[in-house]
Each structure stands twice: as structure tokens, then as C-alpha cells.
């Protein structure tokens, strides 16, 4: 999978590419159709469009951002080499399924169990999605801290639980789909998700408590 020769990136800084807003409706459909007829610009647009949503799904499932980037590139290279004709009706589900399978292949091959949280600086720069705080009651620093706690809690979770929890809560798959893709029973998936949530909750609560205690201590000093 990783045998292709890596080239240093060309000088792209002069024209930094910005994610092209192709939405999820007709424009996306048109872009997919063009990309499937070997239109490179449409294809590049899809590459940019899915960088964030698919990049994060891969990064947390694999537990390593750099490997996730390799898989993301691999995904689009395989896509380009075997452009589906006619384009799949539900392109997004199709693309996500291929990405998920690539991630599973990788996890099976290397038996990777570790999970490396994203560095704090990167979370801070990403703006620590306000989605986590729908009421808008938290400051930026608190949101970053919360995200760090969730990532740490995921890192501490048993890998088989983590995969089921992430496939359900981050990838949005049903337990039936997860059971099929992992080749395990639905009741095992359900038990893994349930235990994973319990572990996550305990770890998250402990960390948030420790965090608030240290902050209070800092204020008193």
C-alpha cells in the first residue's frame, strides 16, 4: 500500500488551495460525475471537499494522523485508477465505505492498538468545533480542554470498544452495519459500544474533575 515513491510536495504555498464548497446536493453530484469522467479539477475539488470530514474519521479510527493522511491519499489514488461508471448513486456512502475498508485493512495488517491524540496546538488552531458546545457557554480554552479530555479518554479505551464507539458516534454507522463490516455479532457490537461509553464517561469525568480542581488551585494561588 505504501510502496509508491513519495515526492516532496511541489511549491503549493503560492496558491494555497481552499476547500471548494460543493455542498451535498446537485453541485456535488455534478462534480462527482465530472470527476468520474477523468476531469482532474472536479476530482481535486472532491479531494479537498472530503479532507476534513473523512480525514477526521480516518485519523481517529486509525489513531494516527500521519497514517490517516497516507490512507486518504491512497483512497483517492485507488478512486482515480478505478473511476466508477456510472458514478455511484450515493457517492458519499460509497466513498466512506471504501475509506473504512482501507482503514480496516491497515488495522488488521499492522495490528495497531495505540491511539495518538492530536496535539493541543492543532486542536486549538482548529477552533475546537463549537458543535461541542451548542449553548455557546464555553470559552475557546475550555472547548480545547474538553476535546483534549475526550481524546485522552479515547486513547485509554480498549481498542475493540473504541472502534465500535467511533464507527457509531463519529462515522454514523448503525450497529447492524458495524457488525457486518467487522464480521462480529450485533450483540457484541452493542456490548462493545455500551462498555466503551462507560469507560469513556468515567475517564472523561475524572479528567474534567482533575482539570477543574487544578484550575481552582491555580486561581487560589
Amino acid at each position: 500500500m505504501f510502496h509508491e515513491k513519495e515526492k516532496p510536495p511541489p511549491n503549493q504555498s503560492a496558491h494555497p488551495s481552499t476547500p471548494t464548497s460543493i455542498g451535498s446536493g446537485t453541485l456535488l453530484r455534478e462534480t462527482v460525475e465530472r470527476a468520474c469522467t477523468k476531469d482532474r479539477l472536479a476530482f481535486s475539488s472532491l479531494y479537498e471537499h472530503y479532507k476534513d470530514p473523512l480525514g477526521k474519521r480516518l485519523a481517529y479510527l486509525i489513531g494516527d494522523k500521519d497514517i490517516a493522511y497516507e490512507l486518504y491519499q491512497e483512497l483517492f489514488i485507488s478512486f482515480w485508477k478505478r473511476l466508477p461508471m456510472p458514478p455511484p448513486l450515493n457517492f458519499e456512502a460509497w466513498l466512506y465505505r471504501i475509506a473504512r475498508n482501507l482503514a480496516f485493512d491497515y488495522l488488521r495488517r499492522v495490528k495497531r492498538l495505540e491511539f495518538s491524540p492530536l496535539p493541543e496546538q492543532e486542536i486549538s488552531e482548529s477552533g475546537a468545533s463549537p458543535l461541542s458546545d451548542p449553548l455557546g457557554t464555553m470559552g475557546h480554552e475550555e472547548r480545547v480542554c474538553e476535546m483534549m479530555c475526550v481524546q485522552q479518554a479515547l486513547a485509554e479505551m480498549s481498542p475493540q470498544y473504541r472502534i465500535c464507539v467511533l464507527l457509531q458516534d463519529l462515522w454514523g454507522y448503525s450497529q447492524h452495519e458495524i457488525a457486518e463490516s467487522l464480521g462480529i455479532s450485533e450483540s457484541t457490537v452493542s456490548a462493545n459500544v455500551s462498555r466503551g461509553h462507560k469507560q469513556l464517561r468515567v475517564a472523561y469525568r475524572n479528567m474534567m474533575n482533575a482539570e477543574s480542581a487544578s484550575r481552582k488551585g491555580g486561581q487560589m494561588r
Binding site: P9, A14, E30, S44, S126, M147, D169
Partner: protein
């Protein structure tokens, strides 16, 4: 003995940690009835809902900006092959003489390839102006010293990605370099590990 607030009732713990959508209507109704009377279980449910929201809102990692270098090099390779085929046709045109006539025989219009998706992608008028300025050029390979064609559309394609320099090698030499085994490639080592 009072139970710590954050531990839900044992008999409801499994149901609380499960995804709500997976519960049957009767289970859900029973759970709701219990939650209205149990603060610990109610807090656990709030926590689980928040966990799901937080996982869904995890930030995306910062991947390198721009297109994948591997994809760009794949495209470059494809262009090289295409160019090789065209050059062969050009070379054997006419009286059977081996000649190179890119200016006369290349009918590909600059920017044709990109134009179909311009409406979707191009928000930069200067990019279009730059494309117009591109012309087919005959360059000489720094390795084999043979002339090769660098078409206007190729130039426009690379310019759009911020690559402004001309290729130094002909497609054949480029392909040869690319096919050379990348022994120092860390990914290759990774793949060969058991």
C-alpha cells in the same frame, strides 16, 4: 448507604450506555419512566448524550494543504505516457522520416481539459488569464538532451497548483526515474515488515 451520584443503577446501566435508537419502544418508555425518578441515571444519560456529541465534534487533523503529492505525480506520469504516444505519432508523420513537429501537429487547445469544471471550481479570474498566456513549448531534456513537448494545457494545469517551473526532463526520463526502486522509502520498509 448512599450511592455516589455518577454511578447509575445496575439494572439500567446497560440500557443507558446503549445507543438510544437501538432500544425498542417499550424499553425506551420504561427507561424514560425510570429517569424521571432517578437523578443518577438521569445524569448518566446526559453524560452519554454529551459524549456522543463530543465525539461527533472532534476536530479534523490538519492534513497538508493542496493536492496529494502522490496524486500529482500519478497525473504527471499519465501525462508523460500520453505525450510519449503523441510524440511517436508525430515522429512518424510525413515521409516516414523521424521528425519532431509539435507546433504543427498538436491540435490540443489550451485549457480544454479544465474548462468543463470551471463553473464549479474556478473563482479566480487571474488563473484564467494565466491559462491564456500559456503556449506549447519545445523543451530539451537535461538527461537525454532530446526535445519534448510541454503543452499549454499541461502548463496551465501545473500553474493552477502553484508549480511554475518547467519540467527539466522528458516524459520518458521522468518515468524512468519514477520507476527506479525507492529503496530509501520508509513506507516500503514498513510494508516489508512481517
Amino acid at each position: 448507604m448512599t450511592r455516589p451520584l455518577h454511578i447509575p443503577c445496575t439494572e439500567w446501566a446497560e440500557m443507558l450506555a446503549a445507543h438510544e435508537e437501538t432500544l425498542s419502544p417499550s424499553d425506551r418508555a420504561a427507561l424514560e419512566a425510570h429517569l424521571s425518578t432517578c437523578p443518577a441515571c438521569s445524569l448518566a444519560r446526559t453524560d452519554y448524550r454529551m459524549m456522543r456529541r463530543l465525539i461527533g465534534a472532534l476536530p479534523a487533523p490538519a492534513f497538508p494543504p493542496g493536492l496529494s503529492p502522490r496524486l500529482l505525480s500519478l497525473w504527471e506520469e499519465e501525462d508523460g505516457h500520453e505525450l510519449d504516444e503523441r510524440q511517436q505519432l508525430h515522429s512518424f508523420a510525413g515521409n516516414g522520416e523521424v521528425r519532431f513537429q509539435p507546433e504543427l501537429e498538436d491540435t490540443k487547445q489550451p485549457g480544454n481539459h479544465e474548462s468543463s469544471s470551471e463553473a464549479v471550481l474556478s473563482d479566480d479570474a487571474s488563473a484564467t488569464r494565466e491559462e491564456e498566456a500559456c503556449v506549447d513549448q519545445t523543451l530539451y531534456c537535461r538527461e537525454c538532451d532530446k526535445p519534448f513537448l510541454f503543452t499549454a494545457s499541461e502548463e496551465a494545469f501545473y500553474r493552477q497548483r502553484g508549480v511554475r517551473s518547467r519540467p527539466g526532463r522528458c516524459p520518458a526520463c521522468r518515468a524512468r526515474r519514477k520507476n527506479a526502486a525507492p529503496l530509501d522509502d520508509p513506507h516500503r520498509l514498513q510494508q516489508e515488515q512481517p
